[in-house]
Symmetry: C2
Subunit: 875 residues, 2 copies
């Protein structure tokens, strides 16, 4: 490790993000680009790591290094830190290598004290400004560095405003603020049992320490967990000369994006407040003005800002999210970074930038997190429903999409109700980082206060979650669990619908419609298809599913579960008759009745899918799943079958299993009842021959589930092959076909060398493989898995993201052994992991030929596959 822990802005650049944090690196880069940035220095992330090694304190040599850079800053500004006449004031901000919105702790105006405030007033000829700055500093320092609840300070300020009969902070005059400062210092003393520190160096050290400490506050830890950010990277601290947006009506502060972060439209987008400082905009205390109005208020400043925005976007080749301050009509940039955006915006920006020649297609497709596409693949309200619905109010269209649910007033409550299966919309005055978990659980978020860059809006967009913010008509009474809108009051049992694309709010459930791949999204997905070199199929059991999947670009069916066909109302009786048969003849007769129906299913699917591959899995679940459970149903079945209730119950009891997951199912059924496999093989073959007559040449892929041994597989394949050959002979026609198996027991993976010799393809059934590898029943594991996730023993649910260390090892082994023993083997996955981006990338690198997932996840899987292709190429 180096000895250098502090960098002046002019020493760094944008590529030093790991060391200087995102904010520090970009402040350096802007400095290098000649943009007007208040100068300062960055204490590195390595210092943060050392801070924890030292037992959460700053060490002497660091303090000396800071001193050197502080002196440099004093020289540049011609001011003196801690001086009472001409004090250098600084801001202290965190800045981690990865942006963590809402998690940062910022202190402004550091360096002020009871004497310096007088000097500042005298120097600026603005006493009100000086005391406004001082009271802000006391509050932020107390809150951020010392952990005093800011409510304490807000009470003082509210009381003062009430006393004076005013509404806005800006309406308080210098004397009012002097009084506020005195009262703030009293609060500080009351809460912390010590005086507010008057020594500037003391203030600075405490502030830097506080930023480092905030890296490990609970909110930050939760955010990193949710976003899978490495806990060990640490944060940097930026110490920067203050510029003042609160110096009067020619000053102000704002936040703006180079393009619209909600829609992607290529137009400056943002908000600012006149005579305000930093957090005022983000906190949503005052509703800010749109950036466009700055054009009239201060045209020169606006033009300069627009030009800087373009310069930065061209330089970074991505949409920028910028913070700025205007001090007496002079523009300063305080931050730039790649802007968070909705996935709709992300797609549009990426597509536009390709068209603008800023980036190439491969870059474009890496600009979107695959899982964020989910936001494009979820339903919106139907036009019909919108036509007939009357909105009760309108807020800001903060994050697009649609959501319907009962009202939840607290984050915790939202989580609890969602855990129980209830759909809720979180309704809050405004949200704060404490609400994060509740936001994850809610269908959507509705707030009464805050703008497009408020906490709720930013976080919701990050999550791809529908959000309407700043709906001022709302009167939220969380304590009494009501929200009143224009005189009408709603409670926790009332359903509301919010439209994040229009900002409209409705007091009933609205019908939703499925999304499609059109416009920019369609073009984007075309590029994805051009770039990726792994196939993406879908899991579809019915012609309806298959059609939906084709809509989303599925390149075949990786898993068609035939048992779902068995459950259909007109078939279940024959299935039950088959199961309860006393002899092979009755069983065969029942199967003969099912045969034409199964054949028709396959025929319809083949007709839809045309030449695309379709993998049909033979009957998998244990037979008892098909039998009725209720008394009445059993009686009815007995009657229909001409059996006694006791006979039916006896067979039900006989088939009952202690652990059905590890029981009599999968190809074990085919070993015991070959006639079932024969019927299915016949249905598949006859359907294939039918579509062949119509000119569609398909190669049926028949998948045998749950094998754990090559001899077992060979036994069942023989049964299937003989039946197929029989059909060929009867029909005097034939088709090519593939016979393969699922790899879903650990033993199948372990003995895949032998199994590969019997199989044309492997399809990894990672759901069951995960169950058996961990020893987790998916039906029962939630009880303890939740505890594991809560206690931090596991970082993620292995049923959602494939466990690469354990289950992944088996997959790798089977791929290796499979290819070694059968070079022509075709390898895919049909477990639900097939649509999870991390898993898709892992499987691409492991060498699968395709993944298969639910229709709605096809575009996600495709994007992940394309990114994996690019990543591999660039390695």
């Amino acid at each position: 490790m180096t000895d250098k822990f502090v960098y002046d802005f002019k020493e760094g650049n944008k590529d030093m993000r790991d060391l200087l944090g995102g904010k520090g690196a970009n402040l350096s880069e802007m400095t290098n680009l000649g943009i007007n940035v208040p100068q300062g220095f960055t204490v590195t992330t390595e210092a943060c790591t050392r801070f924890y090694e030292e037992g959460r304190k700053l060490w002497d040599s660091l303090k000396e290094e800071i001193e050197v850079h502080k002196k440099e800053l004093e020289k540049i500004n011609n001011k003196k830190f801690g001086d009472n006449e001409n004090p250098l004031l600084v801001s202290v901000r965190s800045g981690a290598p990865i942006s963590m919105p809402g998690m940062m702790d910022t202190i402004l105006n550091l360096g002020l004290n009871d004497e310096a405030v007088l000097g500042l007033a005298k120097l600026t000829q603005n006493e009100r400004f000086a005391y406004d700055s001082y009271r802000r500093f006391i509050q932020m320092f107390a809150d951020v560095a010392m952990g005093v609840d800011k409510e304490n300070f807000e009470e003082v300020l509210s009381a003062k405003k009430k006393e004076k009969g005013v509404e806005q902070d800006t309406e308080l005059d210098a004397d009012d603020l002097k009084d506020v400062v005195e009262k703030y210092k009293e609060v500080y003393k009351r809460e912390l049992k010590e005086e507010f520190p008057q020594d500037a160096n003391d203030q600075l050290e405490k502030a830097i320490s506080a930023v480092f400490a905030s890296w490990n506050n609970e909110r930050a830890i939760l955010y990193r967990k949710l976003n899978e950010i490495d806990d060990s990277m640490g944060t940097a601290v930026n110490v920067q000369t203050m510029v003042f947006g609160n110096m009067g009506n020619t000053s102000g502060t704002g936040v703006a994006f180079s393009r619209n972060p909600a829609t992607g439209e290529n137009k400056l987008f943002g908000e600012y407040l006149i005579n305000a400082q930093g957090e005022d905009v983000v906190a949503g205390v005052r509703t800010p003005q749109e950036i466009a109005t700055l054009h009239e208020a201060m045209p020169t400043v606006f033009d300069e800002f627009a030009s800087i925005s373009e310069k930065l976007e061209n330089h970074y080749k991505d949409m920028q999210d910028m913070e700025f301050t205007i001090e007496n009509e002079k523009l300063y940039l305080l931050q730039t970074r790649n802007g968070k955006r909705t996935v709709q915006a992300a797609v549009k920006v990426a597509v536009d930038m390709v068209h603008e020649g800023l980036i190439d297609k491969e870059t474009a497709i890496t600009r979107i997190e695959p899982k964020d596409l989910d936001g494009l693949l979820h339903p919106t309200f139907s036009e019909e429903a919108l036509k007939n619905a009357e909105a009760i109010t309108k807020g800001l269209a903060a994050s697009p999409g649609a959501a319907t649910g009962k009202i939840a007033f607290e984050a915790r409550e939202a989580k609890e109700r969602n855990d129980k299966g209830e759909k809720v919309v979180l309704v809050r005055e405004e949200t704060s980082p404490e609400d994060l978990e509740g936001m994850v659980s809610a269908e959507g978020i509705l707030t009464a206060r805050g703008g497009m860059t408020s906490h709720a809006a930013v976080v919701a967009r990050g999550m791809g979650k529908c959000c309407v913010s700043g709906a001022h008509d709302l009167i939220v009474d969380a304590k009494n669990r009501t929200v009143t809108v224009n005189g009408k009051t709603y409670g926790e049992n009332d359903v509301i619908s919010i439209d994040g694309t229009s900002g409209l709010v409705y007091d009933k459930e609205l019908e939703m419609v499925a999304p499609t791949l059109e416009g920019d999204f369609g073009e984007f997905m075309q590029w994805v298809d051009e770039i990726k070199d792994m196939k993406v199929r879908t899991n579809a059991d019915t012609p309806r599913d298959a059609a939906q999947a084709l809509e989303f670009g599925a390149e075949g069916i990786g898993l068609c579960r035939t048992e779902h066909m068995f459950f259909e109302k007109d078939r279940i009786f024959q299935v039950r008759r088959m199961i309860l048969a006393d002899n092979v003849e009755t069983r065969k007769d029942a199967l003969n009745n099912i045969l034409p129906l199964q054949e028709q299913d396959f025929y319809e699917i083949y007709s839809l899918m045309k030449e695309r591959p379709v993998t049909v899995r033979l009957l998998d679940p244990p037979l008892h799943e098909f039998l009725p459970k209720g008394k009445e149903e059993i009686e009815e079945l007995a009657k229909d079958l001409g059996k006694t209730v006791d006979e039916v119950n006896a067979r039900i009891a006989e088939l009952a299993e202690v652990n059905p997951m590890l029981g009599f199912r999968g190809l074990r059924l085919a070993v015991a009842y070959p006639e079932i496999a024969q019927m299915q093989a016949r249905a598949i073959t006859q359907a294939a021959l039918r579509v062949k007559e119509e000119g569609v040449n398909i190669v049926p892929e028949i998948m045998i589930p749950l094998s754990s041994d090559s001899k077992e597989l060979a036994y069942v394949e023989k049964i299937v092959k003989e039946e197929i050959e029989k059909v060929f002979e009867e029909k005097n026609d034939k088709v090519d076909y593939l016979l393969g198996t699922m790899i879903e027991t650990p033993r199948a993976a372990l003995t895949s060398d032998e199994i590969a010799k019997e199989a044309d393809f492997f399809s990894f059934g990672t759901n069951d493989l995960t169950q058996m590898t961990f020893g987790y029943s998916r039906d029962d594991a939630a009880k303890f898995l939740d505890i594991y996730l809560e206690k931090g023993i596991f970082e993620r649910d292995p049923f959602q993201v494939l466990d690469q260390d354990g289950v992944g090892k088996l997959v790798k082994l089977a791929v290796k052994q499979g290819r070694e023993n059968n070079p022509n083997i075709h390898l895919g996955i049909c477990g639900e992991h097939g649509g999870e981006p991390k898993t898709v990338k892992f499987l691409y690198n492991v060498g699968l030929d395709y993944v298969s997932c639910s229709p709605f996840r096809v575009p996600i899987a495709k994007l992940a596959a394309a990114q994996a292709t690019v990543e591999k190429k660039n390695k």
Copy 2:
């Protein structure tokens, strides 16, 4: 493959068993030793393989080769095959590389026909002998080579004896036999629609083909399956000059062992029949005489035989099983082989031979199949019970041990009733190879006919199963399902007891006692202990089990299941109270009540086991296993707990699981309810400190079940460690202890590299590992596993013999990764496979430090371990 398919006896030797079969190799060896063996030749096992390749027929070049060797035989004997004046007669016998008693098909007197029989009569001056030989040949040829049921022939013979008013075959004269021969030929023609073949070469080819074909008859296949003999090795065929035991009263035939095969006593043991041929002795048709009486009947022959017996035993260095024929007072040896024996005899012979200086200890311990020790480890009738019981009859003590059960009259019935859990004794007139499966299922076997070398006796000894044979008082009426003994009649619901050591039969259930390691067995096991270099522990849950295990030489406890302690009557209430607790306090209170009882359990076990290692496993089963199931029990529990029945039922429903095997159990309980693990850790530690005060220094081994991840294991270990340290502090004393885990989920094996860093030991739980690796629920798998075994898809049940290809691969991986990442790690197994010899040998070679098994299997595991040590050394 060679071109030579036929060997004269003088061309072979005893080491050519794979090629010539056991019988052929030993006939060659005896020829080389100068022992009087009727000369002949062997058609090899390779010819058998080729026979199947040729489509079950002999090919031309083989026929030519046989012709050459036949000519050589004619020259030696100065007779001519197929000649009518001076015909060369031969026997044709199978002889596989591994002896298959009861499975062989033998044809004697081959070469006879309607003409040659006249020549033979003239030549021997013995017309009766000639026709006796001919009628035997017709029957054997028809039965063995052509598949005609021998009942057909026995009917003819019985009718003849009835007509003549005689009882014994020997009482029929030449004319009677001539008539019998005519009738036999009619039977042959009737059954096969062709004349009995008169051409000697035709007879020979059919006979050789029949022997080859018999390799794959159902009985042979079953025997090989039961004894795990490779199906592909094939059988050889021995064609040997006939000598005749049926030439009158100076002729005879017999079977003898160089030592007593039931007890091991070093004294010639066997039986012979005067004026009889081959199968007469084994078939049990006439009850033969003891070999000792031959000393008086033909002293010279007896002495010569005794001397040959000694010579062969010294040469083979093992007890010999010999067949001989006396033709006109001249002794011929027809076969020698290492004799089958009871395990009691095997131990005695091995120990005696070491003392006699014939073999060394390492050889001695390889002379016993480990699984056969089972026969020494089963109970016998208690002396007390025998004192008060009166036998209803006595038979031969054919295979030692004791058995009690209801009477089964048919093999099939024995299997069916046993499958349903009933204990049965198979009672038969005599047994035949068709009865094999029923013999496996029965507790013991009782026959009315047959001697010590009858089918029942030989097979029962091979199985280590109790057998009383030749109990002549029995009148078995299988059709009417009764057996009458001295006027008293018993049916299928009556219980009998048989004592295979005394031959006594009782008509009630007798108390049994456990066996001990004494005498020869004790000495033998001492050698086993000296030789083996892997430890053998036991699975014991109670002090009583532990005491039993010590008796059998256990070197520690590898698995002490604490849940069994929880089920005891005085504790289950507190356990249920703990499970149904509404809060941590009540749960802790219930656990506090269990604590002193658990501590006492461990204290008693530690006191018994002294310094030997004891591995205690923390609570493993899901909590619902402890809750009552019946309505009344639930009501009672609710009352005792002061809860409503609904409350109790609600908790039962909440805890219910779809797949408990993959559910909320093992260390998952400790993660959710740390107080349970804390209580157990405390009980273990306090017990260890108590025995320490008494001067016994034990190192408790605490085993955490069902881990699948290193972080999960570390989490639970922390809980356990902290509690132990707390106890140390409270008691101001400490002991060393080990903390380890079971490897019983596939993921634990896969991630054993990481888990090893957290564990002092691994103990393979191969029961669960087998369940999860195959995806087989042990509770449910019987339904389909039986089908798999029946259809030959699997050769053996993976819950009985460890699956080395799949589960074994995981074990190997975990051993490798475990040692690489923790060189001090201690490795063992506590699944039931730990007592299975094949598995023990596999695990020895994989490198485990110990195996642990049920108390009764400890000597078996030790012997397997010792043999593995010797095998490795000799490799």
